[in-house]
């Protein structure tokens, strides 16, 4: 009886839903219009034009002439760009490891019913709300305050700039990743952990065999988030030391030793040499492909994890 009732109801739902669809359809301009227009102005058109301009020689968008792949060749031959690429990759790997290990450790400790854990969470998450430019200036003051005692500055050594940025990003991102890990750890059913305890597993065995396999999806999300944040980093890089120290080469080119990809693209676009804008746009396309690949891999891995569960 109930089964037939249910069936009738769902059929009725299907029939009636056309009742909603029909009247809505006429309101396309109101519901979709503003978003589509803004999306075309703010994303679709600039994106298409950006792809086209990467094959052009131009100073302003209206004087573009098609030149083929020359910009890409120039981009790959640009020593400062290649340096920025390897520097960014190194930074991304180091920051992914440090941020995730520390965030996971903190999450693990704070899920053990210790006193004040809510307050600690609030404090650790707080830096995440502060913008990159402001963060950069706060930390450049702190590092210079320390380094001034040794008569040096964050602007003078590549290694200071590198580790300075790692520390800054740890301060900003550990709290965020911690929140994701805490959600993952709290989602593990209590009975699995109890069963492990009854079986005599010690803390370390529970962590390796129960906790970590069960939070793999959180680990995937956080790894990719920190990875793509690392590659896209701009504000903090600009405000902390702006790519200093610089190396001036014999051929007149400059390699900014702590400059990352996003900042390199920016300074190529808006530097004094406006003839390099085509190269800058080609660099931007390469950068986009790189970031998009990371994003798509993330999507693939998170989907796979969902299927397994």
């Amino acid at each position: 009886m109930t089964a037939t009732k249910k069936k009738v109801r769902s059929q009725g739902g299907g029939l009636r839903s056309s009742l909603i669809k029909k009247p809505i359809k006429h309101w396309f301009p109101l519901f979709m219009g503003p978003t589509i227009i803004a999306f075309a102005i703010g994303f679709v058109w600039p994106f298409i034009q950006g792809i086209y301009l990467s094959f052009c020689k131009f100073r302003i968008t209206s004087d573009a002439t098609f030149i083929g792949v020359g910009n890409y060749i120039k981009a790959f031959k640009d020593a400062s760009f290649m340096h920025a690429f390897w520097y960014t990759a190194l930074y991304a790997v180091v920051s992914v490891l440090i941020i995730n290990v520390l965030a996971f450790a903190i999450a693990l400790a704070l899920t053990q019913k210790i006193k004040g854990s809510n307050l600690f969470r609030t404090v650790f998450f707080m830096p995440n709300l502060i913008g990159g430019i402001v963060l950069g200036h706060i930390w450049s003051m702190i590092f210079d305050g320390i380094l001034a005692k040794y008569n040096t500055s964050i602007l003078l050594e590549t290694k200071y700039g590198f580790w300075g940025l790692v520390i800054l990003m740890c301060w900003q991102q550990i709290g965020y990743m911690m929140i994701i890990y805490i959600a993952g750890i709290q989602a593990i059913p209590d009975d699995i952990i109890e069963a492990a305890e009854i079986d005599g597993a010690n803390r370390w065995q529970t962590l390796v065999n129960i906790t970590i396999p069960n939070v793999m999806s959180s680990i995937t999300i956080c790894t990719f988030l920190t990875l793509s944040n690392g590659f896209k980093l701009f504000d903090q890089n600009l405000a902390l030391n702006g790519g200093q120290p610089f190396i001036f080469k014999a051929d007149g080119s400059v390699v900014k030793t702590t400059e990352m990809l996003a900042l390199n693209i920016y300074s190529t676009f808006y530097g004094s040499n406006t003839a390099a804008r085509g190269t800058a746009q080609a660099k931007a396309v390469i950068f986009f492909v790189l970031v998009a690949v990371i994003g798509l891999l993330q999507l693939k891995f998170t989907r796979e994890k969902e299927v397994q569960q």
Partner: protein
């Protein structure tokens, strides 16, 4: 048994103390900002970690200097930051939630294309479009604080539509059907039936957009006509970089003024902020 229980208690206390100390270390940079914003500029670099007492005490002179530095009053930047953040967030919430509802209820080719383009736009970094976007915005006169929300709607539509669409799928159709049968048109159905159900997602998206727009530097820097309009991040970068004069005391005073609204906002809506940010973790 009793021994292991005391051991557990000791372990937890040790952890508590450790994290209490770590928390102090975590807020130390903010404390330093406060200390140095009241310190005379020359001491900021040499005595960064000391309390601004005696000859180092600058009173509110850093604040006065920062607020009147150059020919652009800081409070104007604060005002524009508030204006742009509030209007952009409101516009994004209204327009994208309406579009997401339409997309999830009407299964047409246009809707599908818009949806997939939105998902695609989430993996595109800003540097890819920054030059062409700023030129387009300039030509179409979206270079003022009153029109820049359109640019934010365009560039930020992806994540918002993605998040709203995900939630729309879970709303039972029966409620909307009941509204239609009772004689509601699509607009009333949307505002009186769908929007109230959408509230948790609206809050999450609002938090994400507020944090993005308020802290955003490069987009407004490139799009806005900088001789007339600045926001807080632009102003702070300008304070530090302009004329080659680095006045750290004044910069820290302005940094402090810039983060006070953020901290108040965080303390007020902490629960929603943490939830909203975790919900937005899908974006790479």
């Amino acid at each position: 048994m009793a021994a292991s229980l005391t051991g557990e208690k000791v372990r937890r206390t040790v952890l508590s103390v450790f994290f209490a100390l770590l928390s102090l270390l975590w807020i130390f940079p903010i404390v330093l900002v406060i200390l140095n914003s009241f310190k005379i500029n020359t001491f900021v670099k040499t005595n960064t970690f000391s309390i601004p007492a005696g000859e180092m005490w600058a009173g509110f002179s850093n604040f006065v200097k920062g607020m009147t530095f150059g020919n652009y009053p800081y409070l104007k930047s604060v005002g524009y930051s508030f204006l742009i953040t509030i209007v952009s967030t409101a516009v994004i919430l209204l327009c994208t939630s309406m579009s997401a509802w339409y997309i999830s209820r009407i299964d047409s080719l246009v809707c599908r294309i818009v949806y997939y383009l939105c998902v695609f736009s989430m993996v595109v970094p800003f540097q890819m479009v920054m030059f062409t976007l700023s030129k387009t915005a300039d030509t179409l006169k979206f270079n003022t604080p009153f029109t820049i929300p359109v640019v934010y709607l365009g560039f930020g539509a992806g994540l918002a539509i993605f998040m709203f669409s995900g939630f729309m799928k879970t709303i039972p159709l029966e409620m909307e059907e009941a509204a239609v049968i009772d004689g509601c048109g699509p607009i009333r159905t949307y505002f009186q039936v769908v929007l109230p159900v959408l509230k948790p997602t609206l809050i999450s998206v609002a938090i994400l957009e507020i944090m993005w727009v308020w802290n955003d530097y490069l987009l407004p820097y490139l799009v806005l006509d900088r001789t007339k309009y600045m926001t807080i991040p632009i102003h702070i970068q300008y304070l530090k970089g302009s004329y080659g004069v680095v006045d750290l005391g004044a910069t820290m005073a302005m940094v402090l003024m810039g983060i006070i609204p953020v901290i108040i906002f965080y303390l007020c809506c902490q629960k929603y902020i943490i939830k909203g940010v975790a919900a937005g973790a899908v974006k790479g």
